[in-house]
């Protein structure tokens, strides 16, 4: 484990240094990424330009949800978002190289790229969080602080698990990679809004089966002291870390299963 982290730091450090060599293009890239990530939030603001509340949620409450989803997703994207390009590794045979090296397969894939420009997205999420907190009067208690702090890594682990399961699709079909987008990019969009606006089947499928409701909706309910209007039991607010653990185990098993059954095309 410690060895794994050291390897990861070495490989990612080299990536960052090489990207910083081209300063102008790096700056342009950061700016582009920063603004494109703001579009989603302009959508939220536009909605609240027309209505005072979305369901029972005010603009600052939705901004709070948005920021939690955006920050944790951006961190996940920064760490493992390049799994999007994983199908390419299968197609051109480069995954075979990974198999013969004496390190974990997933670790090597994850450390193979690091898009530093995505830091801009984390920054955007933090700006929205500051905006949200400036308008909310949260009555902070140790329990609320604990739930919020625990929800951040939990959310990142849930997003990562979705990404890893999505990448596994590539073991069976290399051009179906976009399926994953529905759950990763679609997932963060869904988690940016209160779940009570979605229809029942969408909540069941994307909220519980793909556990997106645990990314920030339930923890946010607790921190904001809001009841779930659909009558979900109160203890769901505390389940995010457990759900994240289960999701990670499932994703890990699927990855190992897929790697065991992988047959190279001989690239």
């Amino acid at each position: 484990m410690v060895d794994g982290i050291l390897v990861w730091r070495r490989l990612v450090g080299a990536q960052i240094r090489s990207q910083l060599q081209y300063r102008m293009s790096f700056a342009l890239d950061m700016t582009g990424t920063f603004w494109i990530s703001f579009i989603d939030f302009f959508v939220v603001l536009t909605i609240f330009h027309n209505v005072p509340r979305l369901g029972s949620w005010t603009v600052h409450e939705v901004a709070f949800l948005y920021a939690l989803s955006a920050i944790t997703f951006a961190v996940t994207d920064l760490l493992i978002g390049h799994l999007d390009q994983f199908p390419q590794k299968i197609r051109d045979g480069n995954f075979d190289i990974v198999l013969v090296r004496p390190r974990g397969t997933l670790l090597q894939i994850v450390a193979s790229d690091f898009a530093t420009r995505r830091v801009a997205r984390v920054l955007q999420g933090v700006i929205v969080l500051v905006y949200a907190l400036s308008g909310l009067h949260i009555h902070w208690t140790p329990a609320r602080e604990a739930v919020l702090l625990a929800s951040l890594p939990s959310a990142a682990v849930i997003f990562s698990s979705i990404w890893v399961v999505g990448a596994c699709i590539a073991f069976w079909t290399t051009d179906g990679g976009e399926f994953t987008n529905a759950f990763t990019y679609g997932g963060t969009t869904m988690a940016q809004y209160p779940f009570d606006i979605y229809s029942a089947w969408l909540r069941r499928f994307l909220g519980y089966f793909v556990p997106l409701a645990f990314v920030c909706y339930f923890p946010a309910l607790y921190v904001l002291g809001k009841p779930d209007l659909l009558g979900v039991p109160h203890f769901f607010d505390f389940l995010s870390p457990a759900v994240a653990l289960v999701a990670a185990c499932i994703a890990g098993s699927i990855w190992r299963f897929a790697v065991r059954h992988y047959r190279s095309a001989g690239g």
């Binding site: 293009s25 342009l28 700016t31 302009f42 536009t46 909605i47 051009d175 399926f179 679609g186 809004y193």
Partner: protein
Amino acid sequence: MRLDWEIAKRGWRRYAAYPWATVAGAFTNTVFGFLQAYILLAVYRHRANVGGFDQADAVTYVWLAQSMIMTVYIFSWWELAWRIRDGSIATDLARPLDPQRYWLAFDLGRAPYHFLFRGLPPFVIGALVFQLHWPSPLDALAFVVSLTLAVVVSFGFRFLYNSAAFWLLDFRGIVTLSTTVVIFFSGMAIPIRYFPHALRELCYALPFAAVIQTPVDVWLGKRSGLDLAGVLALQVVWALALLGLGKLALGRATRKLVIQGG
């Protein structure tokens, strides 16, 4: 003309070669359609009309926009930029065929494929689940014309920002920024009609509305008679203007072009 047709057929075939990519993409558009539809429906719990859109208009907008997203190819298009960067553009220029005309024909072959296989399936699913607004025969016809013009406007802009690669060694930032501008100002992220008055007027005055919002307005019957003729004419103007600028950029660039390896 014969040549354009042959190129267009290749544009179709290029994308038809990856059926699973099409299925996966259509699935993703469908999921986004559901999310956006429920988000906008929540807005209508408080109001019956936003910027001239009622509930059925808003949901129809969602599914039309998801269906048009690939037809007008709103996300980043890099092909020309890559050919400039790796030097293949030199070969293109040596051919007795204008590269802009080549890529336009190719794009007009690609668009119907994406319309049928990426656009229709999500729309049909949306129509089965939600109450949509259906156009009159005249509006439906005008929509087809408007959508075709939208593809040309979108292509004109994509060609233009790709040609920035003649001057910039690294064009990723420009492409990302251009894509951001189109997504926001075209009405892809949220209907232009939801914006505050001044921003709304600005959006309608820019060419990007012609890519998404104009065809949607036409389908929804928000434009009729002279007004309809006017917005279609404006789309033609934007298409010609952007193609003209692209041609100008290409002409300028080729006069000073030095191929750096490749």
